[in-house]
Point group: C2
Chain length 384, copies 2
C-alpha cells in the first residue's frame, strides 16, 4: 500500500447558486483543484452526491461532470452515502491510489438544493433516514435530531441554551472563510430567541440547505512534490455503518458508527484524540457536534456539550472544531459537505486558513455523517 | 496488485416483486452469495443502484442493506453510474481487493422499479440522459434509442426485421435461466408484429422494467480456494466515459466509451476479442447489442446486426451473447443489471449454466452500459 497525499484543493463558495447548473458547480470545484495542483489530466473522478436525481432530475453525474470538464473517457462514478457522500468519495479515491490502481484521481462532493421548495428538500433529505420505519411515519431529519437532543438534555442534565456555544463558535469562525455561506456573528441572546423549528431545535441549532461543490486531488505521496510544495498526507480514511433507523440502535445517544470509524482511523494513522489539532465535526444540528465529539473520544459520554461550555472548542481551545464555519455557518450542501470538511482541514494544514488559522496545526481530523449516524467517515490528514 | 477472484454468486429471480422491499431484495442476493462462498462476514459492501431515491424514496441503501443483513459496522456505500451501476460496483470492489485495502468484499446490484407507474419510471430513467439537453426536451430512453436505430438502419442498409435475431436469441436463452423474468420464446412473426413503442423500436426490441438484486463475493485469488473449489478469476474490470448527451458524440453510432473500456479491459487481461468465449451485451434495446458488439471489436462498424443475421450469436455461434436471456428476457432492473451479467458469466465459467451452458467456456466478458453509452464498464472473467 502506498501513502497518499492531497495535492490540490478547490471549492465553489457555498450559497444559493440559482445561476449555476449542477455541471457548472462541479466544473468550478474540479477546475480550481486542478489549477491548484497544476494538473490537466487525472485517471479517475469519484463524485460524492446524494440528491442530484431527486432535486435536479439528473443521475449519472460522474460521467456528466467528467465530460463537461474536458475529461471525456476517464473512469467516473458517483458515490452515495446520504450526507456522508463527500467523504465516502474520498475513501474510494484513497483506496484506488493507495492500492496502486490509479495515480492521480479527483474526489468531489457536490449538491444543488436551493432550486426547490423547502418542503421538497425536506422530503428528499428524509431519504437518508429509514423509509419504511422513520420517514413513512412523518419523521424528518430535524425531528429525529430534536428527539435526540431532548433525550440528551434529559439524560445529561443540560438546558437548551447550553448548546449555544456550538452555533456561536461556528458563526464566528465562518467570518474568516470566504467560501462560507454566512458571514454574521451569533450572540447568546440571538441563539435563545431564534425561531423554534422542532422543539428543542431552533433555527440556530440547524445548518442551512445550500448549493456547493468541493474537490481535492489525490496522488501517491511519493509523487506529490511534483505537483505542489504543500502536500497534505492522508493518514486515514475509514467508513463504518450503523442501523439507519435510530430506534434500532443499542443506544440512540451513542454514535456507534462514529466510534468504530474513529477507532479504525486512529489505528490506521497510529494516533489518538490527544494528537489531533483540529476536528471538523458534522454539525448538521448542534446535538450532532456533541455526539461526534463523544464518539471520537474528545469528550466522555454526556460531556460533549460541557466541552463547548468550557470554551474548549474555539480556535485556541483544547480541540478547535468547525474552524471555518462548520455545516452551521459554512453551509450544508449535503453530498458536498464531507469534501468541504476535508478541503478545510487541508487548508489548515497548509497554513492557508487566514485569520481562521489554528496555530501550529499538524494533524487534523474530519468526521462526516450520513443520516443520523448510519454512515460515518473519519478522515485524518497531516501537514508535510 | 493482487489477482482477484469471485468466490460466491447470489441472485434473486428478476421479476415483479411487489411483496419484497428494497432491503429484502438486497438481503436475498447477499445472503445467497454468502452461502455460496460459505462465509458469514465481509470487510465491505458496495451496492450498485440507480433509482432507489426516485422510485422507493430511499437513499443510503449501502448502510441499510449492510445492517439488515446483520453486518452492522462494516464499510458500505452505494455506487451510481445510471444503468451501469452494477458493474461499476464490481469495479470499486475489485479496486479494494486488488489494491490490498480489503480481503473479502460483497458487490451488489439492486433495483426496485415495478411498484411505480410506467410513466414515473420512464421519467426516472431519463435521469440517465442529459437533463438539460435531452430529458428537458422530452427525449426518453426509448426515443433516444429509436433515433440511433433509425440512423443505423439508414447508414448501414438494414431493415427493421433484421434486428429480430437479438430478441429471438435472448428469449430462447432465457428458457434455460430460472432467474429470468420471461420464459417464452419469440418467433420472427411475433417480433415484426409486436406493438410499436417509438418507431422503429417495438416491444420486442425493448427490455422490461423489473425488480431484482444480484451479488458476487470477491476475494484475493490466493485465498479463493479456502472458500470454493470453483473460483472465477476477475481478469479485468474497466470503466470509461463518454458524453451523456448523444448529440455531443463524435459519432452517435459508435460507442466510444465502449471501445475505450473494452480496450482497457483487453489490455488488463492480455487478451483480445478472439479469445472471448461468450459476451454479455447490454441489450436494453436491440440496437445496443449491435453497437456493443462493434465497440468491443466482435464486428466491424455496421456489421453487428449482420453477425446476428448470420447466426453467430447463439450458444454455439462464433460469439454467444445474452446466453441466459440478456436484458431483453432475463429482465433489466437497471442498477442491478450489470451484476446479473457478471453473475451469469461467472456461472457459465463454473459450468453451472445448465441447458444454457456455452460448451468449454473459459473466458467470458460482460459490457454494462450507463445511459446511451456515457458510462461503459467492461468485465472479463476466467474459469480457474
Amino acid at each position: 500500500m502506498r501513502d497518499v497525499s492531497i495535492i490540490g484543493v478547490g471549492q465553489v463558495p457555498v450559497g444559493e447558486h440559482w445561476d449555476m447548473s449542477l455541471r457548472e458547480l462541479g466544473y468550478g470545484a474540479l477546475s480550481a483543484a486542478l489549477r491548484d495542483a497544476r494538473l490537466e489530466r487525472i485517471d479517475a473522478l469519484y463524485v460524492g452526491n446524494m440528491l442530484s436525481g431527486e432535486l435536479t432530475g439528473q443521475e449519472h453525474v460522474g460521467a456528466m461532470i467528467a465530460d463537461f470538464a474536458g475529461l471525456r473517457g476517464i473512469e467516473a462514478v458517483k458515490i452515495e452515502a446520504a450526507c456522508g457522500s463527500g467523504a465516502a468519495a474520498l475513501r474510494i479515491g484513497y483506496i484506488a491510489v493507495a492500492g496502486g490502481l490509479a495515480d492521480v484521481v479527483a474526489v468531489m462532493g457536490i449538491e444543488k438544493m436551493t432550486d426547490k421548495q423547502g418542503s421538497t428538500v425536506t422530503s428528499a433529505l428524509a431519504m437518508a433516514a429509514d423509509g419504511d420505519y422513520e420517514a413513512l411515519h412523518g419523521l424528518s431529519f430535524v425531528s429525529i435530531n430534536a428527539l435526540l437532543m431532548r433525550r440528551y438534555m434529559h439524560e445529561h442534565g443540560y438546558k437548551k441554551e447550553d448548546f449555544a456555544p456550538f452555533a456561536i463558535n461556528a458563526h464566528a469562525n465562518a467570518m474568516n472563510n470566504p467560501n462560507a455561506m454566512f458571514h454574521s456573528r451569533v450572540t447568546p441572546k440571538q441563539f435563545i430567541e431564534a425561531k423554534m423549528i422542532a422543539d428543542p431545535i431552533n433555527l440556530l441549532d440547524s445548518s442551512p440547505i445550500a448549493d456547493g461543490a468541493a474537490c481535492v486531488i489525490l496522488a501517491p505521496a511519493a509523487m506529490a512534490k511534483e505537483f505542489t510544495n504543500r502536500p497534505v498526507r492522508v493518514r486515514a480514511s475509514a467508513i463504518a455503518t450503523d442501523s439507519v433507523a435510530v430506534h434500532d440502535r443499542r443506544d440512540p445517544l451513542f454514535l456507534e458508527g462514529g466510534a468504530i470509524s474513529a477507532h479504525k482511523a486512529y489505528a490506521m494513522a497510529g494516533v489518538g484524540p490527544n494528537d489531533i489539532d483540529l476536528f471538523e465535526v458534522h454539525d448538521a444540528f448542534t446535538i450532532m457536534s456533541a455526539l461526534s465529539l463523544e464518539a471520537a473520544g474528545f469528550a466522555a459520554r454526556g460531556k460533549g456539550v460541557g466541552l463547548a461550555l468550557d470554551g474548549q472548542i474555539g480556535l485556541d481551545g483544547r480541540i478547535p472544531i468547525t474552524t471555518l464555519g462548520g455545516l452551521k455557518a459554512r453551509g450544508h450542501p449535503v453530498g458536498a459537505t464531507g469534501m468541504y470538511q476535508i478541503a478545510e482541514v487541508a487548508l489548515q494544514l497548509r497554513g492557508e486558513a487566514g485569520a481562521g488559522q489554528v496555530s501550529g496545526a499538524r494533524l487534523g481530523m474530519a468526521q462526516n455523517i450520513g443520516g443520523s449516524g448510519a454512515t460515518v467517515i473519519t478522515t485524518i490528514l497531516e501537514a508535510s
